[in-house]
C-alpha cells in the first residue's frame, strides 16, 4: 500500500477585490501517490499558481486540508512550515530562479546544506546530480554564464538533490526552446522517478501535460480529473 504524497480535501481560496470576494479555488480535491507524476493543466488565470502556492505552503487556504507525505501542512505555522518546505518540497520554475551569486555546484548544494546534510556526503551527492543533469563540466559556472536550458537543468538538480517528497514544477519549459524544454522535462521526470519523488507539473501545454501519469485540469477554480481531450 503506497502512501499518499499529496492529499487535498475540500480546499477553497478566494481573494478580495475591492468589496467583492473572488473565489480562485473552490472545494478542490486531489490525491497524488508517492512517486506519481501528475500534470495540472489550466489556462492563465485559472488558479494554477494559487493552488501551487497553497500546496507549497506559501499561501493559506480559507478552508480545507492539505497533507504532504502525511503531514497536514495547513496546521503548520512558521517557521515549521518553512522547515517542512525545505525538507519535503522541491521547486522548478519557468524563470529558473537560481541564486546568481552562487555557482552551479553551490546552487545544487544549497538545499542539502539547508537540510544539514553532512559535509562528507554532500560533494558526492552534488557530483552525482551534476552528472545526472549533464552539467559536470559547468559546475563552477555562475548562472549568468549558462544557457536557459542549462539553468533549468541546474534548477531541476537543485529541486531533487535532497530527495523531497514532492517536486512542484511551474511551467518548467515555458522559457525554453522546444528541444531544451523536452530535454529538461525528460530529465525531470526520469530523475523524479529515480528519487521516488512525486511530481506536480503545472502547465498550460497539453503536450507537456501528456508526459505525466495523470492529468488534472483546473477551470475557474474547480479541479477535475478527466481526459485531457475533454478538457481541451
Amino acid at each position: 500500500m503506497q502512501r499518499l504524497a499529496v492529499d487535498i480535501s475540500n480546499l477553497s481560496r478566494s481573494y478580495r477585490e475591492g468589496n467583492r470576494s473572488h473565489p480562485v479555488i473552490r472545494n478542490a480535491e486531489m490525491q497524488i501517490q508517492a512517486g506519481e507524476c501528475v500534470a495540472l493543466l489550466g489556462r492563465s488565470g485559472s488558479g494554477k499558481s494559487t493552488l501551487l502556492n497553497l500546496i507549497a505552503g506559501i499561501d493559506r487556504p480559507d478552508s480545507g486540508e492539505i497533507s504532504i507525505d502525511g503531514e497536514r501542512i495547513t496546521q503548520l505555522k512558521e517557521p515549521a512550515l518553512t522547515l517542512f518546505r525545505r525538507r519535503q518540497i522541491g521547486f522548478v520554475y519557468q524563470f529558473f530562479n537560481l541564486i546568481p551569486t552562487l555557482t552551479t555546484r553551490e546552487n545544487i548544494a544549497l538545499p542539502l546544506e539547508l537540510n544539514n546534510c553532512s559535509i562528507a556526503t554532500m560533494p558526492k551527492k552534488v557530483a552525482q546530480m551534476l552528472e545526472a543533469v549533464n552539467l559536470t563540466e559547468r559546475g563552477d559556472a555562475y548562472p549568468d554564464q549558462l544557457s536557459g536550458g542549462e539553468q533549468q537543468r541546474v534548477a531541476i538538480a537543485r529541486a531533487l538533490v535532497h530527495r523531497p517528497a514532492l517536486v512542484l514544477a511551474d511551467e518548467p519549459t515555458g522559457n525554453l526552446d522546444q528541444a531544451a524544454g523536452e530535454n529538461a522535462l525528460d530529465l525531470m521526470i526520469a530523475l523524479a522517478r529515480e528519487e521516488q519523488s512525486s511530481l506536480l507539473l503545472v502547465t498550460h501545454s497539453l503536450t507537456v501535460a501528456q508526459r505525466a501519469d495523470r492529468i488534472l485540469t483546473l477551470q475557474q477554480g474547480q479541479l477535475s480529473e478527466q481526459g485531457a481531450e475533454l478538457a481541451w
Partner: protein, 837 residues
C-alpha cells in the same frame, strides 16, 4: 547560518562594489567624525585633568585667594604658628612665547616633597641654579623638543607685555611628559620676580587631616577660600562641558546622516534582491535566517567602515584637538594640549557606535527582507503600490516623532542632553515626512508637467513611480542639507547678534587696558593716576573705568563686572525684561546690581531677585535691578559700580579706562596723545580703539566656530556620499528599464539627459524639503541648545544666501551623483542591459 548563504551575501557585496564601498566610506566618515571629536575632547579633558592632578598633587585642600592673591605671610603663619606642615605655596602666571601661552608655576621645592612629583632626574647643578639664578626655569622636555629648546638655552618670552629672557636650566622629564606640556617650572622666588608679585601667593596647597579643614576655613582671613581641589577641577571642567557636548552632538549629526546612508544602501540592496530573497524563502530559508543574513551583511560593512573610521578619526583628531584647545584657550582657561591622548575606550565607543548605528539602520531593511513572501511573482508595481499605501502611516509616524521631540524639549527644562535628543527626534520625524511629501509633490508636478516635454514628464513620473527608492534618497539628502543649513543659520545669527551687541555695548572710542600675566586675567590693573592723566587730555571728553574680577563665593567663583560709568555707559546695556524703575540710581548707590543673561539663566534668577555675595565685611544681599544681554562670558557676570566694589572688597583698582573723545577727534591722534601722556608710567598696557576691539572679538568668535564649520563640512561630505550612493543605486537599478527605453528609440544622449534631469530634480526636491527642516533645526539650536549650553539668547536671522547655498548644494550633489549612471547609460548596449537580470 548556512555557509552558502554567507558566500552568496559576500559575493553580492563584491558584485556591487560601488554601493558597498560608498556605504563603507560613509560609515567610516561618520565614525571618523565621532572619534575625531571625541578624541579631541577627551584629549583636552585628559590633558586638563592630568595637569590639574599633577599640579595639585596630593593636596586635599587649597587656599585660593581673591583678586589680590594670598599674602605670603599667611603661608608662614599656617606652617609655623598653626603647625600645618603639609603645606606648599604656589605662584602661577602666564608667559607668552610667540602666540603660545605657557604656564609658569613657581613652587618651593623644599615644600614639595609631600605634594607633587613633577620632574625626573635633573642635571646636577639645576637645583642650585633654580634657587640662585633669576629667570631660571625648567621646561617640560616635550615642550622643549617641540620648541627646539635644549637645556641651558635662553628662551625669550613676554610676561605681562614685558620681554624677558628665561634661562632653561634643565628639562623636566616626569613620569608622564604629556602632563607637563606647556609648563615652565620655577622656584617660587623666580616666579614672584618674573610675575612682579612679591609678597603674593596664588595658592596654598594643603594636606589636611579630617577636622582640620573646618577649623582652617573658619580662621581664614576674609577674601580667601578653602577649597577641595577636586571641586575646583570640577568647576573648570563644567565650564567646558557645554562646549564639548555641543561638539559631540555635531559629530553625532554626521553619524546620523551616515545612518541614513546605510539605511539607504541596505534598503536598496534588499529591494534589488527581492527576487533572490523570494527564491531563498521558497527553498526553505526561514525568515530569521534572512534577517540574520541581512544584519550580517550590514555588520560586515559596519565593521570595515568603523575600522577605517577609527584610523581616519585619529587623523581627524590630530587636527581637531588644536581647534578644541584653541577655543578652550580663547574662551575658558589656558590649556596646552599638543599630544593626542588616544584612549582605547574612545576608539571602542566610536567603533561600537559605528557598528551599532549600521545595524540599527539595517534593521528596517532586514525586517523587510525577512518579510519577503516566498513567491517570485511579486511585481515591482505591486511593491510601489504597497509603499504608497504605507505612506500615510509613515507620515503619521513622522508627525508623532516630531511631536515627541517637541514635547521632550518642552518638558526637559535645562537639560542639554534632552535638548539634543529632541533635536534628533525632530530630524528623524521630519525625514519620515519626506516620502509622503515627495508623493504629494510628484502628483502635483505630474499635473503641471503634462504640458512639458516628454523627457520632463518621464523624469517627473519616474520619481513618483519609484517612491520606494526616490523617497528615501530625497529624505537622506534633505536631512543632510538641512543639517548644514541649520548650523549655518545658527552661526550667522549668533555672529550677527554678537556683532550687534559689541556695537552697542562698547560705548567708548578708545580703551586703555592693563596687560595681564595671570590665567584669571583679573589681576592686571592700571595705576590710579592713569585715569586722571587721560582725563586731563584736551582730546578727551569723558572717561569710564572697568574691571573684571573673579571673586570666590560659596557657590564657587563669580565674575564681577566692575564699572565706573561715564555719562553714556548705561546705554551699553540692553535688558531682557524691563529693569526696575529706579535702576540706575539704585545701582550707583550700590543697592542694585546687574546680572548678565547667562548668569540669570544659570542660576534661575530674574529681575528683582536677591543675590548674596561674600564681601570682606561678610555676606551682602543685593537686588537684581536688571538682566542684561551679554555674550562675553557663558559663565555669567554680575555688574557692580566701582564705588560699591571698593566699599565691599576694599579694592579700588581698575583694569581698563574707556575714553570718550571730544567730537571730531581722530582715534589715531588720540591714541598717540594718550600714549604720550602715560609715558614714564611703569606699567604694561594696551590701547585699542573701539573698532579694534570689535574686530578682535569677532575674530575670537570666528575661531570658536571654526571647528563647528569643520564638522559641518564633514557632515556635508557624508551627506554627499549618501546622495551619491543612493542616486547611483537608483539609476543603476533602473538599467533594465532604461534599456527598454533605449530599445524603444531613446538616444543615448536623451537617456543621459533623462538621468541627469531626474537626479537634479530629486536634488531640487531635497533642497526644498531641507529648507523647513534647516530652519527648524536652527530654531532648536538657537532657542534650545545654545540657551541651555551657554544661557544666552540669539536673534535668528535668516540668511538668504544660506538658503541658496542649501538648494545649490542639494542640486549639485544630486547632479554629480547622476553623472556616472548617465555616462554608463549612454554606453551600455540595450541588448546587454536587457539581458541582465
Amino acid at each position: 547560518m548556512s555557509r552558502l548563504l554567507l558566500i552568496s551575501a559576500l559575493r553580492h557585496l563584491h558584485r556591487h562594489p560601488w554601493q558597498s564601498w560608498l556605504s563603507i566610506l560613509g560609515i567610516a566618515l561618520g565614525v571618523a567624525v565621532i572619534v575625531g571629536v571625541d578624541l579631541a575632547n577627551q584629549s583636552a579633558r585628559q590633558a586638563f585633568l592630568l595637569s590639574a592632578e599633577s599640579l595639585t598633587g596630593k593636596a586635599t585642600h587649597q587656599i585660593i585667594g581673591g583678586p589680590a592673591g594670598i599674602p605670603e605671610d599667611l603661608y608662614r603663619e599656617l606652617r609655623i604658628e598653626q603647625g600645618l606642615r603639609q603645606a606648599a605655596p604656589i605662584v602661577e602666571g602666564l608667559v607668552k612665547l610667540g602666540a603660545e601661552n605657557l604656564q609658569l608655576i613657581g613652587v618651593d621645592p623644599l615644600a614639595e616633597e609631600n605634594f607633587r612629583h613633577l620632574s625626573g632626574e635633573l642635571a646636577a647643578d639645576a637645583a642650585r641654579r633654580l634657587f640662585l639664578e633669576p629667570a631660571s626655569v625648567l621646561l617640560s622636555s616635550i615642550t622643549a623638543s617641540r620648541l627646539g629648546v635644549a637645556a641651558d638655552d635662553n628662551l625669550t618670552v613676554t610676561i605681562a607685555g614685558r620681554e624677558v629672557t628665561l634661562q632653561v636650566v634643565d628639562l623636566l622629564e616626569g613620569d608622564n611628559p604629556a602632563v607637563l606640556e606647556g609648563l615652565l617650572l620655577a622656584d617660587i622666588s623666580t616666579a614672584q620676580e618674573l610675575l612682579d608679585s612679591p609678597g603674593r601667593l596664588d595658592r596654598i596647597d594643603l594636606i589636611l587631616q579630617p577636622g582640620q579643614a573646618e577649623r582652617l576655613a573658619d580662621t581664614l582671613p576674609p577674601g580667601l577660600h578653602l577649597e577641595v581641589p577636586a571641586s575646583r577641577t570640577r568647576v573648570m571642567m563644567e565650564m567646558i562641558d557645554a562646549f564639548q557636548i555641543n561638539l559631540a552632538a555635531m559629530s553625532l549629526l554626521a553619524m546620523l546622516v551616515g545612518a541614513f546612508l546605510i539605511y539607504n544602501t541596505m534598503t536598496f540592496s534588499v529591494l534589488r534582491r527581492r527576487q533572490l530573497l523570494a527564491t531563498l524563502r521558497l527553498l526553505g530559508v526561514t525568515r530569521q535566517a534572512l534577517f540574520r543574513l541581512l544584519l550580517l551583511e550590514a555588520a560586515l560593512m559596519g565593521l570595515v567602515g568603523a575600522g577605517a573610521g577609527l584610523v581616519l578619526g585619529i587623523f581627524t583628531a590630530q587636527y581637531l584637538v588644536e581647534l578644541v584647545t584653541r577655543t578652550i584657550n580663547d574662551l575658558y582657561f589656558v590649556l596646552t594640549v599638543k599630544q593626542l591622548i588616544i584612549q582605547p575606550v574612545v576608539l571602542l565607543k566610536g567603533f561600537l557606535v559605528g557598528v551599532g548605528v549600521t545595524l540599527l539602520a539595517a534593521l528596517a531593511p532586514a525586517i523587510e527582507a525577512a518579510g519577503t513572501v516566498p513567491v517570485s511573482a511579486l511585481r515591482r508595481s505591486q511593491l510601489e503600490q504597497r509603499v504608497h499605501r504605507g505612506l500615510p502611516w509613515v507620515g503619521l509616524l513622522g508627525i508623532a516623532a516630531l511631536l515627541l521631540g517637541w514635547l521632550l524639549i518642552a518638558v526637559s527644562g535645562n537639560s542639554l542632553l534632552a535638548g539634543f535628543s529632541g533635536l534628533f527626534l525632530i530630524i528623524s520625524g521630519y525625514s519620515l515626512l519626506v516620502p509622503p511629501g515627495v508623493a504629494l509633490l510628484s502628483r502635483l508636478s505630474n499635473r503641471t508637467g503634462k504640458r512639458r516635454g516628454l523627457l520632463v514628464r518621464f523624469a517627473l513620473r519616474g520619481i513618483g513611480a519609484n517612491l520606494s527608492r526616490t523617497g528615501l534618497s530625497i529624505a537622506s539628502l534633505s536631512v543632510a542639507v538641512a543639517a548644514t543649513l541649520g548650523v549655518s543659520i545658527m552661526i550667522s545669527s549668533f555672529r550677527a547678534t554678537v556683532a550687534d551687541w559689541l556695537a552697542y555695548t562698547l560705548r567708548s572710542d578708545i580703551y586703555v587696558s592693563a596687560v595681564s600675566s595671570r590665567a584669571s586675567s583679573s589681576d592686571a590693573t592700571l595705576l590710579p593716576e592713569t585715569r586722571q592723566r587721560i582725563q586731563a587730555l584736551p582730546e578727551v571728553a569723558e572717561t569710564s573705568t572697568g574691571r573684571r574680577v573673579t571673586i570666590q563665593s560659596r557657590h564657587g567663583p563669580v565674575d564681577l563686572l566692575v564699572l565706573d560709568f561715564a555719562s553714556n555707559t548705561h546705554e551699553g546695556f540692553k535688558f531682557l525684561e524691563p529693569p526696575l524703575a529706579d535702576l540706575w540710581a539704585g545701582y550707583q548707590r550700590g543697592e542694585l546690581l546687574l546680572t548678565s543673561e547667562p548668569y540669570a539663566y544659570r542660576h534661575g534668577l530674574r529681575t528683582g531677585d536677591p543675590i548674596i555675595l561674600d564681601t570682606l565685611e561678610g555676606p551682602l544681599s543685593l537686588t537684581i535691578g536688571g538682566v542684561f544681554y551679554d555674550y562675553g562670558s557663558d559663565q555669567g557676570l554680575i555688574g557692580l559700580p566701582a564705588s560699591a566694589y571698593t566699599r565691599y572688597w576694599g579694592d579700588a583698582a581698575f583694569a581698563t579706562v574707556g575714553v570718550i573723545l571730544q567730537p571730531g577727534v581722530e582715534p589715531a591722534a588720540a591714541t598717540s596723545a594718550i600714549r604720550q601722556a602715560l609715558e614714564g608710567f611703569d606699567q604694561d598696557l594696551r590701547i585699542r580703539s573701539n573698532r579694534e576691539i570689535r574686530d578682535y572679538s569677532i575674530g575670537i568668535f570666528d575661531r570658536t566656530f571654526a571647528i563647528t564649520q569643520v564638522l559641518r563640512l564633514l557632515a556635508v561630505g557624508v551627506a554627499f556620499i549618501g546622495v551619491l550612493s543612493a542616486l547611483m543605486a537608483l539609476q543603476l537599478e533602473r538599467t533594465r528599464e532604461q534599456a527598454v527605453l533605449r530599445a524603444t528609440g531613446f538616444t543615448p544622449g536623451q537617456l543621459s539627459r533623462l538621468t541627469l534631469l531626474q537626479t537634479s530634480l530629486m536634488g531640487l526636491y531635497a533642497g526644498l524639503f531641507s529648507l523647513p527642516l534647516g530652519w527648524l533645526m536652527s530654531e532648536v539650536l538657537i532657542e534650545v541648545i545654545n540657551r541651555r549650553a551657554f544661557g544666552w539668547s540669539i536673534t535668528t536671522q535668516l540668511p538668504v544666501n544660506a538658503v541658496f547655498e542649501a538648494l545649490l548644494l542639494a542640486v549639485v550633489a544630486a547632479l554629480l551623483a547622476g553623472l556616472y549612471p548617465a555616462w554608463r547609460m549612454s554606453r551600455v548596449s540595450p541588448a546587454l542591459a536587457l539581458r541582465e537580470e
